[in-house]
Symmetry: C2
Subunit: 201 residues, 2 copies
Amino acid sequence: MNEPSLTGGREAKRRTILESAVRVFAENGFFAARIRDIAAGAGVAEGTIYLYFDGKDDLLLTAFREKVNEFCASVRDVLPSELSFEQRLARFIRLQFESIEADPALATVLLLESRQSSKFYGGAVRDVLKLYAQAIDELLGSGGAENALREGVAIPLARRMLIGLLEEIELEWLLGDRSRPLVPLADRVADTFYRGLAPAP
Amino acid sequence: MNEPSLTGGREAKRRTILESAVRVFAENGFFAARIRDIAAGAGVAEGTIYLYFDGKDDLLLTAFREKVNEFCASVRDVLPSELSFEQRLARFIRLQFESIEADPALATVLLLESRQSSKFYGGAVRDVLKLYAQAIDELLGSGGAENALREGVAIPLARRMLIGLLEEIELEWLLGDRSRPLVPLADRVADTFYRGLAPAP
DNA sequence: CGCCGGTGAGTGATGGCTCATTCATGGCGC
DNA sequence: GCGCCATGAATGAGCCATCACTCACCGGCG
């Protein structure tokens, strides 16, 4: 009885509102986004939003947590496979690109607002991003464990490079021409990055 | 007589205002920044700002253009040297890191706001960023010309990777602990990225 | 008939920008 | 030299539009 779930429930409306918020944030940016538009997009009154969320900030933060958790999951999905480090890396990048293509609006919000948010909202956002960083460190660490990393490669630095280069590629796709799919780039990106880390053969 | 220049001039006040704006933008973010605070920081009245700039947006855009031009210059400084591609790459990254360390407030504004701006302010910002992209393409192209790039490395993709990984490293430094200097990382970053591009030996 | 999720007009705060006024400057007639 | 006025830079108190958020009211369901 603790599960209202199927179709009609409170949870469904909550999701509708959140999805509308993400769309409006993605289109206008967080600051320019108006609660009125989010309400209109969700087909509810302004007041209703405050029955489900604590306000504009909460809407952003919630969307955030959701997507980052999805990203983290995609890292951990890849970890325990029997593939080589190089293949796991490629697979992780492909998964991430797929998740960007699957929900571009949410991805736009995440990539466009995360920097601001982490500086100006502080704690909560930063904690969420830390999870993502840890997940990637694990992936890279697993490469180190099987001697796929050259001597002198520092994992935190490599992690920052990887996060950054993926972000830039994803962002250019999101803000630019989305007709060419993103996923086919994954192998080339993984290849270049992997060669940067690998021991000389 | 057309040169007022030395010390007192109009230009000096213009710069004072712009510098104050950059500081306030960096501290609070563009949207939360108040004209009142910019004025206070520059030691002028609010109205004065509008004698020198067209408004808040113009302040941001002007700061922008300035820093990007500086970045572009640092690429072009490096191009015509007799160093190897690998060394030019390292030198470029070092120059860029130095320029970040030299004016962290301006760099913060640039890195934190550029994404938003390019999406929501459109044209003007995007044109400026295109210059930067072109400059980097030249650098990478010069590597291709001396066979320092592996077959199948696409310059636009490599450019995005380079821009992204630098941004992330710079941003983590700007938002985090600035006590450890950034410049010493340049060689390791250049090394890793270069190995990613270089032909197998 | 009472309860409660939902409503949307209203409120209060905020902050970009304006413009009537003040002030500093320097050229000019005496 | 000495006042006097024209010029325009500088000022900052308000104006006004914009929203996030609230709350008194509504209507349908059990």
